[in-house]
Symmetry: C2
Subunit: 344 residues, 2 copies
């Protein structure tokens, strides 16, 4: 929670984070992505690591932009973009996802079509290489919106998606994160009353919660789409589900307003119905996508939560609002100009 | 979908369903409940069955009203009320829940505190006698909002909730519903391309989706709360989750606006973020709870979905909006006057 009031103050003063005067006011964006928000400080970053993140974000943006430039749909663009980030072990989605308390990688994802308001989501899957594609299959090949656990895996397999051994998702750095969290957890549990508070995790490093990826896109037909994918939080227990696969909380798209993908402390995003609230503020109060983005992040902050979001409207206006130290993020204009940033 | 346009027309003309001129305009309600919406026709009902439903709804209302009258919280009232309906095999929640494709009873529930906007939800639990109490435990005894499957069951057990054998939930009438759905499903599957559409259920009787229960309450301290519990839809596959346990979709409460519990075709409620949309229409557009209720049900109907909802604001104004043939429902005024209705 360090530096907390500073960020709130920034929000109150309307200071936004992504080279505001330039980047956020042109209305020419077609694709915006994030790779998670959190305590991302330049002083803790090596030049090599920073370069690796930027290269990954660039690769994802180029992939999605290629789809859009070729006349592809925003839905295809966000799926392709998120697949790149899922396949990249730097991010907490797909390969490289964080571990649960039980040492598993349980993945959640959602996708939404702004034109039709069709949506799909999966949660708690452990064998689907690209959860975002499973979410799309739920949307397009079933009558449902959300499937969880082994049922969702069975569906993904029947839908012809690539199934992998759970070991595919494992990375050593995430495994070490879990071991550290387990040590901290056992100390916290010993201090607290674990019987009356069985789910209290006592996690000190709030960044264990972050690293979700997401994309929002606007295609040449004027249609918006959003997708989000995550491994959740390190050391998560009890089949916990965060905001990413919850339509309206972590993911939402509506051609009349915006496409939105969130990243952050999921519980606060669920309680504030963040993604849909942004849309509602645009539709019902006439706020711009930037104003709405800042408003909903301030609400999350006022409640004690943190994180960020990306949102893109049908005119190509976008926002990347966050109240953390940093957020891996990038955007492409319709002319193909790529912008990438990490810190505040 | 029979009679569909008639209901839409009713919605457009502002005709509401619950003795509108009398019941919905007094602002003195403290507890409103539903036991599911659907094709509930008087011609298909026996006097005995109707009397049984009414007695059950009355018992649930009296239970919740007793809590409120004694100065208890709205949270305690909605939990106690929903527990009665979960324990009652007439409703599709707890005992008497519908069966999944695999012959299991998988239960979902959510609860939300309008004062703090704290929320809890469980989905896909098979051993917790009262899922609404598990949702409350998630809210109050964990740092999470949503837990699913075996993890949620483990949590509920550690939190001291009553665990039952899955056979506890079984009722013969619901089992026969599944057998009928399986026969229809296999016919539908044979007709459709099951490979490209693995999740298409081909269910003819849309009422297989209904029977959810819910309660919204306003206590003497002026605090609102909402709770919803369901067995989902007969013959559901692939770990499908509907709107009931999704905060913002099937359940939402906010002292500034209203407490809301939905019932109906869950996928449409998720895509429309129905419960939170009702709240947003009140907060951002100044609609009354009745206007907002009718607006969101019309949105669901316009998209092709059906169902209903109950909502109660902090002044005690309430609405029971639905676009189906009927909805099991009831309300209590602050003076203890009980109103119960089933049909349009």
């Amino acid at each position: 929670m360090k530096g907390w009031f500073g960020y709130l103050l920034m929000g109150i003063l309307g200071i936004s984070a992504f080279t505001p005067a330039v980047a956020q006011q042109r209305s020419s964006y077609v694709l915006v992505i994030h790779g998670g928000a959190g305590t991302i400080l330049q002083k803790n970053m090596t030049p090599e690591k920073e370069a690796a993140y930027k290269a990954s974000l660039k690769h994802a943006l180029e992939t999605g932009y290629g789809v859009l430039k070729g006349g592809g749909s925003s839905l295809d663009a966000v799926e392709a973009t998120v697949r790149v980030l899922e396949d990249d072990s730097l991010f907490n989605a797909g390969k490289g996802a964080v571990f649960t308390h039980d040492g598993r990688n349980e993945l959640d994802a959602a996708i939404m079509n702004g034109k039709t308001k069709a949506a799909g989501a999966v949660a708690g899957v452990t064998t689907v290489r690209n959860p975002v594609s499973a979410a799309r299959a739920v949307m397009e090949k079933s009558e449902h919106v959300m499937m969880v656990g082994p049922g969702a895996e069975k569906f993904a397999k029947e839908a012809g998606l690539e199934i992998v051994d759970p070991a595919y998702f494992r990375t050593e750095s995430r495994w070490r994160d879990l071991q550290r969290a387990l040590r901290e957890d056992s100390i916290a549990a010993a201090k607290s009353n674990a019987y009356t508070n069985p789910g209290k995790l006592g996690i000190k490093n709030i960044d264990y919660k972050f690293g979700t990826v997401g994309a929002v896109a606007l295609d040449k037909q004027g249609n918006l789409a959003a997708a989000t994918s995550t491994g959740g939080m390190t050391n998560k227990k009890y089949g916990r589900i965060g905001d990413s696969p919850i339509i309206g909380a972590g993911t939402y798209a509506n051609n009349q307003t915006a496409a939105i993908s969130c990243t952050g402390w999921g519980e606060y995003y669920i309680r504030n119905v963040v993604a849909y609230d942004l849309s509602a503020l645009m539709e019902y109060k006439g706020l711009t996508v930037q104003q709405a983005g800042n408003t909903v992040i301030k609400k999350v902050g006022d409640m004690g939560g943190d994180g960020g979001l990306i949102a893109l409207d049908k005119q190509g206006n976008m926002t990347m609002s966050f109240n953390t130290e940093g957020m891996y993020r990038g955007a492409v204009t319709k002319d193909g100009k790529i912008e990438i940033a990490i810190y505040k």
